[in-house]
Each structure stands twice: as C-alpha cells, then as structure tokens.
C-alpha cells in the first residue's frame, strides 16, 4: 500500500485510463477525487467500486479546461478528502482530422482541454503542494507528443505541449518538494482512439508494435501509480513511454509488414 494516507485527484476519471488510474491509486490506499465533466453516473460507479473495496473516494464535477472550475475542483478535493498530495492530469479529448480539413476550433478545443487543463490544475495545486513541501504530479500524455501520425496534428501538438510543460514544471518546482512526470502511452484502446481502431479492430496497428499489442489501461495506471508513489522519489521531469517498444524502433523496423 504505497499511497496510504495520501489524497489523489484524477481528472477525467469516469472512463478509460482515468478510471483505471483512480481505481489503482485507491487500491494502493489513496483517497481519490474522481473528477468528471459530464458522466456523473460513470463517475459515481467508479466511486462505488472504490468504496466497495473499502477505499475512500468522491466524485467531483468540473470542466478542468476552465481555470475557475479547475480551481474549484482542486479546492473541493482538499475540502472533501482532507488534503491533496497527488494530481493526475488525465482529462483529454481528440478531434482527429487532416490539417486540410481541420478548423481552427479543432486545435483550439483540443489544446484547451488537453494542455489547458494540465496548466489549470497544476497552477491550482501548486500553492498547496509548495506550502506542505510535498506533492506529486503525473501528466497523462502520449507518445503522439514525441512523434507524428496522420490526422493527429492537433492532438500531437497538445501532448507535445504537455511534455514540454512537464519538464519546465519539474525544474521549477523540484525545490519545493514537488515531483512532476508524464506517462506516454502508445496506443491504448479506449473510447478516445476508437476511430483509429474501427477499421480492422486495430490489427494493422498492432502489427507495427514490437510487443504486438496495445497498452491496457491498467498498464498505464500501474505506471502512474509508480510515479505517484514513494518508489519514484528521485524521478522528476521524466517522460515515461508505455508503448510496447514503438518509440524505440526505426520506422522501417521490419523488411515487410
């Protein structure tokens, strides 16, 4: 139980990686703020699942792409759960399109949610973390922020922004007892990327992954729990790929597909 006595806030925790992360942190003993924007029932299901396992959690509504609401979400977590030690910036959206077809609002919306929410929640949590000289931030980013993919320019740019912000935030806050890292999943089959997998169930993508499979949401949650816990005490400013080896290989990793 690495996170006994700790309070964690997971944004976008009603589904996908956020949901798995909330459950995982709770299983390590953390009390968890389960943030959601619109899926109240799903968020309450996550809370119920944590409580059924004798954990502590509250569902906290708020659109964290809005600075004011992000501040309220952080404040409510502190008020309801008696503190805050771990912030997992997970909330994210995708608006995949070729740049030829992309509208300005397509990148702005994605940037506002994916990167804006990281900024908003980080800034809201920092005074609290610095005051107690104790705090951990884990940003759920993507390998897409380090590499490119057709139709992902806006999403990749938003994740690239998160990665750069993660490094800067880590060096600015290290002296205040705060660690900041990011996990970079490759492909994880959640609702977010369902379009990519529609065609053939992801078969053609899987063939190009050295480990021949997708990251499960629990694989990502495990990595987040590691970075959120005491076993990663000297790690900050790191971008941890969870990609089955995708980022390690030369694009033409095999002579034929």
């Amino acid at each position: 139980m690495d996170l006994e006595g700790r309070v964690a806030l997971v944004t976008g925790a009603s589904r996908g990686i956020g949901r798995a992360t909330a459950l995982r942190l709770a299983s390590e003993g953390a009390a968890v703020g389960v943030n959601y924007r619109s899926n109240q029932q799903l968020a309450q299901d996550v809370v119920a699942e944590i409580e059924a396992a004798n954990g502590r959690a509250v569902a906290i509504q708020g659109d964290v792409s809005d600075y004011q609401q992000a501040q309220e979400v952080v404040a409510k977590t502190v008020a309801d759960l008696g503190g805050l030690h771990v912030l997992v910036n997970n909330a994210g959206i995708a608006r995949d399109a070729l740049i030829f077809n992309m509208e300005p609002e397509d990148w702005l919306d994605v940037m506002k949610v994916n990167f804006g929410a990281v900024f908003n929640c980080t800034k809201s949590a920092l005074p609290h973390f610095a005051g107690q000289r104790d705090g951990v931030i884990v940003n759920v980013s993507s390998m897409m922020g380090e590499r490119g993919w057709t139709g992902e320019s806006n999403y990749a740019a938003s994740k690239g922004a998160i990665n750069a912000f993660t490094r800067c935030c880590a060096i600015e806050t290290a002296r205040f007892g705060i660690r900041v890292n990011a996990v970079l999943p490759g492909f994880s089959p959640t609702d977010l990327v369902s379009e990519l997998l529609d065609k053939d169930g992801g078969k053609s993508i899987k063939r190009q992954i050295p480990m021949r499979g997708f990251a499960g949401v629990d694989d990502v949650a495990d990595a987040v729990a590691f970075l959120a816990g005491p076993r990663s005490g000297y790690i900050t400013g790191s971008l941890l790929p969870l990609d089955g080896g995708v980022g390690a290989q030369l694009g033409l990793g095999r002579t034929s597909w």
């Binding site: 610095a130 005051g131 107690q132 000289r133 600015e172 002296r175 205040f176």
Partner: protein
C-alpha cells in the same frame, strides 16, 4: 510570536532556500543584491516561512508592502527615479536606507535590491500580528 522567534524562522528559510551556510546570512544581508536571491528563491523563502510558522505572504505582497500603496506615478518620477514621497515610504519599511544619499538617484527597479533579511523579518512580524 517575538521578533527573535520570527528571525529564528526567517534566517534558516533564507539560508536553506539559497543553499548558503547559516553564517553567510546576517540580518543586514540584502536578499537580492548580496545573497543573490532571484524571484523563484523569494518564493521558496516565503513558502519555507509559511511552513515553519504559518505566516502566509504572497510574492506579489513584497513589492506592494515596500511601495506602501503609493500609486506608481507618485512613487517614481517620469524617469522612474523614486520621488521624495517614495523615499519617505521606503524609509519606513527599510529604515537602514540613507535617504539623503539616495535622493534623486534611486531607480525604481533597484529598490528591492536594498531589502534585507531584517526587513523581511519586520514584514513577517506585521503579518503574524494580523494573523493572530
């Protein structure tokens, strides 16, 4: 809280935030000019003080405190040199200043360079009194 107790919290906060030995920091040391504090160091010092004695001071409060609510255009002249009115205010929060020598010579951007550990202790003491 006595002034000695506050100094006892501020002194180590300054030394630790700046990575200095305890004897390198005196009450008369100026934080920025002599000890080399930058804005992130000031933040660190203020958070350490908050943690040690529970007195919360925002970084933005520092310059407001020094300027004492005097509007910018009255605090400095058109060349951003501190006015007589400004100097009179500065003398209140930084009594060590030689106001006569600085008259007509002190640029606004250099004001914080004169702020000492002792001046910070005075500010913290004021805030502590309000908090309690």
């Amino acid at each position: 809280m006595t002034k000695e107790e506050i100094y006892g919290a501020v002194h180590p906060a300054v030394a630790e935030a700046l990575g200095l030995d305890a004897d390198e920091v005196t009450a008369e040391s100026t934080l920025m000019d002599e000890l080399g504090a930058e804005s992130i160091d000031l933040l660190d010092i203020l958070f350490r003080i908050e943690r040690a004695i529970g007195v919360k001071i925002q970084a933005a409060d520092l310059s407001e405190y020094v300027q004492g609510g005097i509007p910018d255009e009255e605090f400095g002249d058109e060349n951003d040199i501190i006015t007589a009115k400004g100097l009179a205010q500065l003398k209140k929060v930084m009594p060590q200043l030689d106001v006569e020598a600085l008259s007509g010579k002190l640029a606004a951007e250099n004001v914080m360079g004169y702020f000492t550990v002792e001046n910070l202790v005075t500010l913290v003491a004021e805030r502590a009194a309000v908090t309690v």
